[in-house]
């Protein structure tokens, strides 16, 4: 009798775990589906067969150029940035035990924007031209990227430094992030206010919009490597994150070095955010909303939440980018605005439907 109950419990457990793995598989298939749509969507209306042929280097040169030099890098940047930002948000929210934690709320995005402002306006390193389409183009993006990365890392160092030296609680880390964010936002405003040339201000605002087409293959490779290493690190720590969810004392009693795990996770998450924002500009909302939507679908168990959030981030970002490029084609909308337009109603719908996180 008892043995039958044992067997039944194990079966139920395996079934529940299987359901969550099925969710991850479905999200993976959805991400691949959207990736395929992304590759086929664009101003030059190519058929699916032409896109597939161009992908393998066959067909007209123009088609190969469009697919391999424009759409494919954009798709890869979207996959890396979407998964990365969602992972960063997921880990920040868990480690700080606050659903509002994200690269934006911790000041990393504003710090990167400040760096871009300094490069473009103060050092005149990002000179501006008006292209034939009337768009503002930054023709020296490397220095802008390096400056954005430097200031994003300064923000990360400030937050982590304060956490270590002053032994900040998770709540204090969030507040410190808000303060650092305000500080860099104020710095950005002052720089823009005193800018001599209005086109420089236009350029820097254009930079902050966020654009998946901005990154080179080299930058995409760096971004992908950072995201892949971080993902592996987070997966290794997934049991620790579950234990931390139960409180500091409980986690320690289960053998978790809570400070070390928190700081390691925050560093990796902040690095993803810094690299992504620096290479692509500010893409808000993904880090905040992707883990929250995923929690409402499969619960808070980090064994499943971490990979599922990453896939959800890729889905939201690729879907937003595809919409941004096609809705008023050939004009391209800022992808950050579209992520909010898509993500916010979906998030509100899930909030109303489920009434809270699963479990």
């Amino acid at each position: 009798m008892a043995s039958a109950a044992n067997k039944k419990t194990r079966e139920l457990y395996e079934k529940a775990a299987g359901r969550k793995r099925l969710w991850i598989l479905l999200l993976f298939l959805a991400a691949m589906g959207i990736a395929f749509i992304t590759l086929n969507a664009g101003a030059s209306h190519l058929s699916v067969t032409k896109v597939v042929a161009a992908l393998f280097g066959n067909g007209e040169t123009k088609d190969i150029m469009v697919v391999q030099n424009i759409r494919l890098p954009r798709l890869c940047a979207g996959l890396a940035a979407g998964t990365g930002l969602a992972l960063a948000g997921c880990i920040m929210q868990n480690n700080l035990r606050n659903p509002l934690a994200s690269p934006s709320t911790l000041g990393i995005s504003n710090a990167a924007a400040f760096g871009a402002n300094v490069a473009i306006i103060v050092f005149h390193s990002g000179s501006v031209v008006n292209s034939g389409l009337g768009q503002v183009v930054i023709n020296n993006p490397y220095i802008v990227t390096v400056m954005a990365l430097c200031f994003a890392l300064i923000a990360v160092a400030l937050i982590l430094g304060l956490s270590i030296i002053r032994k900040f609680s998770p709540e204090s880390v969030i507040l410190a992030g808000v303060a650092i964010s305000s500080l860099f936002a104020a710095g950005t405003m002052i720089i823009q206010y005193f800018a001599a040339d209005s086109t420089q201000v236009a350029a820097v605002i254009f930079w902050t919009f966020g654009d998946l087409g901005r990154a080179s293959w080299q930058e995409i490779a760096i971004m992908s490597a950072v995201v892949a290493v971080s993902f592996l690190y987070f997966m290794v720590r997934r049991w620790d994150y579950n234990a931390i969810d139960g409180g500091e004392d409980v986690a320690k009693s289960l053998g978790v070095h809570t400070e070390r795990v928190r700081l390691g996770g925050m560093f990796m998450a902040a690095l993803i955010a810094a690299v992504t924002v620096s290479f692509l500009g500010i893409i808000g909302f993904i880090g905040l909303v992707a883990p929250q939507i995923t929690k409402r679908l499969i619960g808070t168990d980090k064994r499943y939440l971490i990979p599922a959030s990453a896939l959800m981030g890729a889905i939201i970002l690729l879907a937003s980018d595809t919409l941004a490029r096609t809705i008023i084609s050939p004009q391209v909308l800022p992808v950050g605005a579209v992520t909010s337009f898509l993500g916010a109603p979906l998030f509100l719908y899930l909030l109303m439907r489920k009434g809270g996180v699963k479990g």
Partner: protein, 262 residues
């Protein structure tokens, strides 16, 4: 001897809490730590478990110094149940599986799942296994955290006021479950409590604490009217009825003498 605590002291930045605390505990011992609020009972458990780092003194688990053990090794030896429960919002099965965290390298294996199943069975939680923790009552939650501690396969349980938020039935059930599990598995127990009568039912040894120091260590004989007044500042009488001891505070004793069976 499972645990030896020698000259343990601890201070928070604002004030000292523990002063030169020393005692030992053998296998299958059940020790109740009694004392007023703020006297350092919970801090003592946290120092033994290295959740807090003591300022001075030594803690030996099974003859090995805690300083020489990794956090994972300590977790394999000591199961801790904190005073305040905030379980992650996962299923009961997964919550208990967290107790296997010190042993799990990458993912839970067959042995881990069997141990969790057995712990759930022992605490009669099999029917609740797939429920989420926020769907449980206080008594059920308490059972889940005890099951998680069992899954750690420890030599020592540290239980910080495990019955403080429970009704009388759940208090007795919880105490009975802990006692049965500890006896069956040969696990020593240190439990902090406020209810002296419950402690008298449960423990075979007692540590009385006052102002962060040990006031007395021993068997039931140290629970006397005098020691209760010294520690709590309350006059009381300790009766022995049918071999069991019971403590009644003096102001209630008047009502007790004019008692009427209902």
């Amino acid at each position: 001897m499972i645990l030896s605590v020698d000259g343990l002291s601890f201070s928070y930045p604002s004030h000292p809490v523990l002063h030169d605390v020393s005692f030992t505990i053998g296998q299958s011992d059940c020790i109740a730590v009694l004392g007023t609020n703020g006297t350092g009972k919970s801090t003592l458990l946290k120092c033994i478990n290295r959740i807090l780092k003591p300022k001075a003194g030594a803690v030996l688990i099974d003859g090995k110094s805690c300083d020489a053990l990794s956090r994972l090794d300590i977790a394999k030896n000591i199961g801790y149940v904190s005073q305040y429960q905030s379980l992650p919002k996962i299923t009961v099965f997964d919550s208990v599986l967290l107790g296997r965290k010190p042993y799990i390298k990458w993912d839970a294996g067959e042995k881990d799942l069997t141990i969790v199943n057995n712990a759930l069975k022992e605490l009669e939680l099999l029917d609740y296994a797939m429920r989420y923790t926020d769907e449980l009552s206080g008594g059920e939650l308490q059972k889940v955290v005890i099951a998680r501690a069992i899954a750690q396969e420890p030599k020592l349980f540290l239980l910080d006021e495990p019955t403080s938020s429970l009704d009388i039935k759940n208090q007795l059930d919880t105490i009975s479950v802990i006692k049965t599990v500890a006896r069956k598995r040969g696990i020593a127990v240190i439990v902090t409590m406020h209810d002296i009568n419950l402690a008298l039912r449960f423990a075979n040894r007692f540590i009385l604490m006052k102002n962060g120091r040990i006031f007395g260590v021993g068997g039931k004989e140290i629970i006397t009217a005098k020691s209760i007044e010294e520690i709590y500042g309350v006059k009381a009488t300790v009766y022995e009825i049918d071999g069991s001891m019971i403590m009644i505070p003096k102001n209630h004793e008047a009502e007790f003498s004019a008692r009427k069976e209902v």
